[in-house]
Symmetry: C2
Subunit: 636 residues, 2 copies
């Protein structure tokens, strides 16, 4: 296999195009950045990856798979936080209007300056142009970035040591900055357009959702969903009921999501429309143990924790997931269980373990809903790519939707025996309360009865010390005094425990996984013709077997039909290649399509029903009756 | 099974909700018309229908499946005709602003008036209210409409005979009217809002595509695709190449499409977002025979040809597809082949043949791109529903995209031997041509060299009779005379034949099929509790087997785990139901989920490894070892 170190991406891209794995959408119209079509090979690969995923996760764990709407109303995504927070920062070339993603442009410019510094120092040290180029290539392959952005123009200018250090520290934390910080960095380092050298506008938020309007009135705003998760959360109550109220359980969904990227590049890695597979595992916040954790605790994962990154470093550590959870590097068993299961899934479909790591998110980098997050990152020629996010979304989504709609999204758990608990309680003095709050009395009372324990404690303290406390009701602040209410500890007997479950969410970007798999599967056979091979595992190969008649002679036709039919009936997907090319050329084509087996029909077949079976990676061939070969393939 | 005649739709809807087959999207936010989420049962049913479809069509015929973008640029859909023509007519209540689909409102009002007429006549004839109601119910069940619209208010007023006849003729052709015709009808019959009685605006076109904007500039307009077909046509050249330039072949796609319906009703039958499965079969326009037609020619289909409908009737005829093609009722073998294959597919998944017919489109009803079209319509409690369209789109799409982009979308076929053909040829008199047309000379010459044979014949005739002919170049008309050109017949030797293939398109609305299947599969067991059963065939049932431990006793747990795992490994999807309900109640739940088999684990299982297998429809039970039961299920 080609390693990432000396990767000839142009050659792979040529293969991808030639064998129509994917291509820009509307290519005959010139295409649009960030939109791709999968051809027959890519589509079969995609479907097979999804099929393995469904078996590995949904069927194995009896998850509740749903299929919800892509078009989503404004209200839902306002509540979930996406309308306000699902944005990137963009800045505009003040002269020609070209638009850039702010963090990408900072990264491109600083990387170019550092590269220029390196070249200037090397030149001073008297190195040759070739040496410099070789070192630069080596450096580039080492860059630990999730994605490599379009490079700025490299000019050989030496930098002061403190400047260089400042650039390096900025780059190590590039995913960690908000808009204001990016603006400050752009000002401080005089970041200009890497294309034109013109000044850039201040970074401005750009919401990444595609907007549309539902129905003929034009008044009902909708967005294309940015993730499949919300459709799952909104159905939580129905799903829990479907699961006979048993916890923990998971829902799952495979489907298209959309992000209106500012300036998509990097092929399949940053696109505007993509297939996701997401799991929402609902768990008791007081007990995030997982019954099957024991099955995976010895799986060794490569980890990159957040404190290492905050120190500006990228050194990983290999550790069993059991140890990582025990040491609290990974927060809890359920999160750890899914990280291990994600690893096993990726390994099954052909991702190489030495090019796979789990990176923990830094605090500012985390999505607005997450409280801990580990990305499965896969190394490609673009650097380390986030392919699976595994986030603990806590109770965020269920809580906000419940609050907004008034629908209770909770689990009610019958306690094995009643328990008495000490809780804060509020007593309302009806005589003074009503007259004081008048028309607001009901709303204030409701709020007073549903505060968090912390808030009660605070209120009790305020009343005790100042005799007056404040609460917020629907955005308005009210003052309550000791005359209106009493807040004190009291004992309650509970038969049922009610709680909002936390959500552990493994979220898979199928297109990114597919692209990474192409890189990890591709190698070049070192024979006289240096031929491409894509060594997909059988489970995901676009077709499992190719059927090749020796020539266009009509005598082979009934065999092609019969064998193809029997292979299909045995669940082995086939492709017939009865083109006029030589067998050798057709084998080569097979290898490029990543088909693990080929069956050749020749004149002996007509006589004695034997065929030749060829294996893709070894090119080894055996001869046997079709029936025996079929048995081999069925078990392969 | 319940027949459509006495169908209790409310009871089925209750079951659909209770077992979460589907539900309105964002229901806790109040929902939005025309958007639905599939729950675990509906999603599994959907996935299984798609899986059977893929096996029956894509794998069986080695179709080239693709997966293309949903977000589509304006240019593509402008060329395809959707920007200009993919519209319905809407009209607005002039007082309260309520919006209706024009054809639906005409239909609702006229049907209500006819019903009023019937009641008035019956009353005059002295019938009782009960008799009238019974007859009305019977009539309603007979209404041969694709969809039943919201009824207007029925007032018992007798109509003159000629008025009644005019209403009936209008209704029989309701799908056949354009906007002007609808406006005329609304005026003539004084159609007002059936809700408020207010006047309505003139019908106005409303484009049914959801519009959005791609990228941060706001200048690149995009639409959500209204069909998956365009993505296939745009890739035609790549697909033909992938198929080693062999014809005929088909591409296929399963995916989401969108229509921003004016006023969606009827549950899953008229929605704004839906899963389609579409096949584009590319065929030589001079030879629409199909090599496998012989395999299906004896399949008997129920047909409703267009001339019958234009006569205001709905009588069908049963006929083999062989005879239908021979008699030219169905235009050609390829269209007929797919109609038969569609029938076999629908039968396989459980659609009843006596509630399935193929209806030919009338001329005005046809989509703008089609030249012949047969819909597979399934009878439900909403009337006859179009579930699969099978259209001959001719060379429409490839031609317009080719013309717009300049990309050749043609097949080049090496002729077995060169042939001489007589064609019209143009000779240009350079001396006079250039000076006459000046800067337009090149464009005019190009057009003259690429006219159709018919146009050459016409031009030759014009030149011969009048000495002058006219041609259109980029929308401008030019006159040419005998001085400029000579048009005459000449002989040409061809080695290659070049043609734009025609497209036969079977297009499946998966949601509609799923809903129809629910109706066809549902019945009520006439035992003491009158329990619901959904008799899905095994191939599409949401789960194939349910595993039921007798009780929550821990001794059963290892058996549940082991059996479930082995069932899954054998490819049998399972659901564990270890809730506390009695076995009887859990069997009943099973029947409502449509699970064909249930395995019960009891204390004997612990002793001797035997289990009880129960079959859903017969409720028959047998007892055997788990291993033997597994064998039975594997073959079922």
């Amino acid at each position: 296999m080609s390693s990432a170190e000396n990767f000839d991406r142009a050659a792979l891209e040529q293969l991808v195009t030639k064998r129509f794995f994917y291509a820009p959408s509307f290519q005959i119209y010139g295409g649009v950045a960030g939109l791709y079509d999968y051809g027959p090979t890519g589509c079969a690969l995609l479907n097979n990856i999804i099929s393995v995923w469904r078996n590995h996760f949904v069927l194995e764990e009896e998850m509740l798979e749903v299929d919800t709407s892509i078009m989503t109303t404004h209200d839902v995504l306002k509540t979930s936080g996406h309308v306000d927070k699902f944005a990137d920062y963009m800045c505009k070339d003040l002269k020609n209007g070209e638009i850039f993603r702010a963090d990408h442009v900072v990264e491109a410019v600083l990387e170019a300056r550092l590269q220029g510094d390196k070249e200037a120092r090397a030149a001073k040290a008297g190195k040759t142009a070739e040496q410099i180029a070789a070192e630069a290539a080596e450096d580039a392959s080492k860059v630990d970035k999730k994605k490599k952005k379009k490079k700025g123009v490299v000019v050989a200018v030496e930098l002061a040591d403190d400047v260089r250090k400042a650039y390096e520290e900025t780059l190590a934390q590039i995913d960690n900055y908000n808009g204001e910080e990016l603006a400050a960095i752009m000002k401080k380092f005089d970041i200009r357009s890497p294309e034109s050298g013109n000044e850039l506008s201040e970074p401005k938020e750009f919401n990444l959702m595609f907007e549309s309007s539902i129905g003929p009135t034009g008044h009902l705003k909708g967005y294309l969903r940015p993730e499949t998760a919300q459709g799952q959360f909104l159905n939580f109550k129905k799903l829990l009921e479907f699961n006979n109220d048993k916890m923990p359980f998971a829902s799952a969904q495979v489907g298209r999501s959309f992000r209106n990227e500012i300036s998509p590049r990097s092929g399949l890695l940053r696109v505007r429309e993509f297939t996701m597979a997401e799991i929402e595992h609902y768990v008791d916040p007081e007990n995030k143990q997982h019954p099957k954790f024991v099955d995976v605790k010895d799986v060794v994962l490569t980890l990159l924790p957040k404190d290492v990154q905050l120190g500006g470093k990228t050194e990983t550590v290999d550790m069993t997931i059991g140890e990582a959870v025990e040491k609290k590097i990974v927060d809890n068993e359920t999160l750890g269980y899914f990280m291990a299961r994600i690893y096993l899934f990726l390994e099954k479909i052909g991702i190489k373990r030495d090019r796979l790591r789990f990176r923990q998110h830094m605090d500012n980098e985390m999505a607005h809903y997450a409280c801990d997050c580990w990305d499965a990152e896969i190394k490609t020629s673009y650097g380390w790519i986030e392919c699976v996010g595994c986030a603990d979304r806590s109770a965020y989504d269920l809580t906000v939707h419940s609050k907004r709609t008034g629908e209770k999204l909770v689990v009610r758990e019958q306690l094995p025996e009643p328990r008495t608990v000490e809780l804060w309680q509020v007593e309302i003095n009806k005589k003074t309360f009503g007259p004081k709050f008048k028309k607001d009395a009901k709303a204030v009372e409701e709020t007073l009865n549903s505060l968090s324990e912390d808030k009660y404690a605070q209120l009790a303290k305020e009343l005790e010390t100042a005799g007056v406390g404040s609460i917020e009701v629907n955005g308005q602040t009210f003052e309550v005094t000791k005359d209106h209410i009493t807040v004190k500890r009291g004992t309650v007997t509970e038969h049922v425990r009610e709680y909002t479950p936390n959500v552990i969410e493994p979220s898979f970007g199928i297109g990114r996984i597919l692209y990474s798999l192409l890189e990890h599967s591709w190698w070049v056979r070192e024979d006289d013709e240096a031929r491409n091979v894509l060594s997909f595992p059988s489970v995901v190969a676009p077709f499992k077997c190719c059927v090749l008649p020796l020539s266009g002679n009509a005598v082979f036709e009934p065999f092609v039909r019969k064998f193809s039919r029997e292979l299909r009936q045995a669940g082995i997907s086939t492709r017939t290649d009865d083109s006029k090319a030589s067998i050798g050329r057709r084998y080569a084509r097979n290898d490029e399509l990543g088909i693990p087996y080929a069956i050749t029909i020749d004149f002996d077949t007509v006589k004695d029903n034997t065929v030749t079976l060829r294996e893709r990676d070894s090119t080894k061939q055996i001869r046997d009756t079709f029936e025996n070969i079929l048995k081999i393939l069925r078990d392969a």
